[in-house]
């Protein structure tokens, strides 16, 4: 029984590929609906399984240490997103022996809260556990937390020349490039659903709703896309 009481150390290696094969993304059953709603002017698809890590820290040196581990300068104001490279080639130090790396984006969510977004671990070879461990070590004993929230939200990509027109029907922020340039991301509401809205390119927007809202958000967007399909 003593063995069962022992706390297992966090895995540092890459997650078993066979295990990753069993994953089902929150909107995977809506792929046909999204494809049917998509056309030349606006397209919708899910970008599943992005690695998402919530970082909370208050002390400036703690924030800096976590940023160094991610290879970025942590953003300090609303809307800012920092870009970097984690793992091989970057300044991040993943403990795994795999020769892999991932681009990382750090979204400002609050004065003491950030969301680090990396590629799907099945594609990048950078396991969630390795990122969490690296950041936890960087944070050390200082006040804060590093938590894997990859399953909390999914990512929907709305793109095309009419993507902003679709969002303008329902997002109450000013999405003109003057106010919402490429690279800006904010936590806001779409209809009544809390989402992170992220302009990743001129005509490409990422919406990150909670997993259980994926079906509602996809249906809502598909309805807004009808006049353009």
């Amino acid at each position: 029984m003593a063995e069962q009481m022992t706390v297992k150390p966090a895995a540092t290696g890459t997650t078993d590929a066979a295990v990753l094969g069993y994953r089902r993304s929150p909107a995977h059953h809506l792929a046909e609906l999204m494809a049917a709603a998509s056309g030349e002017q606006v397209r919708l698809r899910e970008v599943p399984f992005l690695t998402q890590i919530t970082i909370r820290a208050t002390a400036p040196e703690a924030v800096e240490a976590v940023g160094n581990a991610l290879g970025v300068t942590m953003p300090s104001a609303v809307g800012e997103v920092a870009q970097g490279e984690f793992g091989e080639g970057g300044s991040g130090s993943s403990g795994s022996s795999g020769s892999s790396g991932s681009s990382v984006s750090v979204v400002w969510l609050s004065p003491d809260e950030w969301l680090a977004v990396l590629g799907d671990e099945a594609d990048t070879g950078v396991s969630i556990a390795a990122v969490v461990e690296s950041l936890s070590v960087a944070l050390g004993e200082r006040r804060g937390q590093v938590v894997d929230v990859s399953s909390n939200r999914t990512t929907l990509e709305l793109s095309g020349s009419k993507a902003r027109a679709v969002l303008d029907k329902t997002i109450e922020l000013d999405l003109h490039p003057r106010e919402f340039p490429v690279g800006r991301a904010v936590s806001t509401q779409m209809e009544s659903v809390a989402v992170i809205l992220w302009r990743s390119a001129d005509d490409t927007w990422l919406l990150m709703p909670r997993a259980s809202f994926a079906e509602h958000v996809v249906g809502w967007l598909a309805d807004g896309m009808r006049e353009f399909s």
Binding site: E113, T188, Q189, S192
Partner: protein
């Protein structure tokens, strides 16, 4: 629709916020020493002015931070927004009624 300026995120629609009631209502230093009437005063009695009113708001759909705002209850104009750790702006009514002595 009110547009409330979050001190961290900037102006957002009121639907992104949660209302937190009157600001600056201090928790009693020694709750055990209060009479039931005084405890009820602390719990349930709040000012209801026609004019400037300091309120707590939370930007629940954004940064999730609490902050204080001074809102005119007649015009809905928000004149001050400040963090919880900042002093309340000058020119406001001082202690809220709820903290006045019962029977005074």
């Amino acid at each position: 629709m009110m547009v409330i300026p979050c001190p961290f995120c900037g102006p957002r629609n009121e639907t992104e916020y949660t209302y937190g009631g009157q600001a600056h209502v201090a928790y009693p230093e020694n709750p055990d020493a209060l009479t039931d009437e005084q405890w009820a005063q602390f719990l349930f009695y709040r000012d209801n002015p026609r004019g400037s009113y300091a309120e707590r708001w939370q930007h629940s759909a954004g940064c999730r931070k609490w902050f204080n705002a001074v809102r005119n209850t007649h015009t809905y104009e928000i004149t001050h927004v400040y963090r919880l750790d900042q002093a309340r702006p000058d020119g406001l009514p001082k202690a809220p009624l709820a903290t006045k002595e019962v029977g005074a």
